[in-house]
Amino acid sequence: GATGLIPEVGRRKYSESGKQTPERSESFLHDFELRLLTMFGLRRRPTPSKQAAVPQYMVDLYRMHSANGDHSAKRPKSMGKHAERAASKANTIRSFHHEESMEALSRLKGKTTQQFFFNLTSIPDDELITSAELRVYRDQVMGAAPPNNSSRNSSTTGDHGAPAGGIHRINIYEIFGVPQGREPLARLLDTRLVQDSLSRWESFDVSPAVSQWTSGKGRNHGFMVEVHHPEQGEMDGEHARRRSRHIRVSRSLHRDQDSWPQARPLLVTYGHDGRGDSVLHTREKRQ
């Protein structure tokens, strides 16, 4: 039963119905199961572990825009405009966490650099990726409770007494190659200066890179996120170190391990396999 979609009970009931010989009913059930798996775009029955985390952002997207959602949830503030446009044209939205064993974090004075690799091989060949966003969580309050997509007012003074807010520049690069012992070859995809003091998700448009990787026109070497803390020159070491932890680009920078699954970087792709409507249903479309 673990491998098939048809529950054991149903399977037995059909075989015992006497409508066909046992051999024929088994082959019929097998064909029907393959049909179901193909319909869902699956290769085998999913058996997710209890640890499998469902990003809150995906739950919000489902609530907000699916054909049968209740449309009650508001658009997450952190949803990039490009993502919303993309979702209105996509019939499949996928989310990915990066391979932690392949990350490379480096923290120099004034700059934190993190390399991510996302395994996108599960995207079927017939699915055209039209857009993608890389979401990074920025927590202004250290060790806070698990984040959700509504932004929180940071009423504290930021880092243990540091003035609230801070100015970071976040650059997102596509990595072309990693020459031995040298800086990776990379091109800038998106950049942003973040200066308010709210804890929130930042969404970056990485569509050009992801659509090349998934269409086979380019190799996936991953992304590089560079966080500049320009103000750090005047700060002392410990203060500067704590300030550079705001942008949650690595587990090592996130103290509360329980909330890490919801705070870790998330890559979301928007695609269409040519079958049917888009996921995003606006009220007018439904009517």
Binding site: P46, P48, A67, N91
Partner: protein, 116 residues
């Protein structure tokens, strides 16, 4: 009159129409990997298609008159009660690689039935 009414009522009950069917994913054990919704109203079509001429015989007035003159070919199969209008649903689920996917699936809800 009472008998005729009773017969018409019975015939009405058995004629082709849409019937309620709620698919509960936990019933079939799919709630392990489908995050939302917990289930959905799929509906299904069932019933007789008693029309003298099945819809698929192109029942225009001309065709009716011509058929009366030439009589109906009894070899033509009777019409079936099938969905005539379907709509999609979206599923949020974990695939076999534990990746989270929000996908729209076509033709999952029966909105209307007809004889074809």
């Amino acid at each position: 009159a009472a008998l005729r009414k009773q017969r018409r009522k019975h015939q009405h009950k058995a004629s082709c129409k849409r019937h309620a069917l709620y698919v509960d994913f936990s019933d079939v054990g799919w709630n392990e990997w489908i995050v939302a919704p917990p289930g959905y109203h799929a509906f299904y079509c069932q019933g007789e298609c008693p029309f003298p001429l099945a819809d698929h015989l192109n029942s225009t007035n001309h065709a009716i008159v011509q058929t009366l003159v030439n009589s109906v070919n009894s070899n033509i199969p009777r019409a079936c009660c099938v969905p005539t209008d379907l709509s999609p649903i979206s599923l949020l689920y974990l695939d076999e690689y534990e990746k989270v996917i929000l996908k729209n699936y076509q033709d999952m809800v029966v909105e209307g039935c007809g004889c074809r």
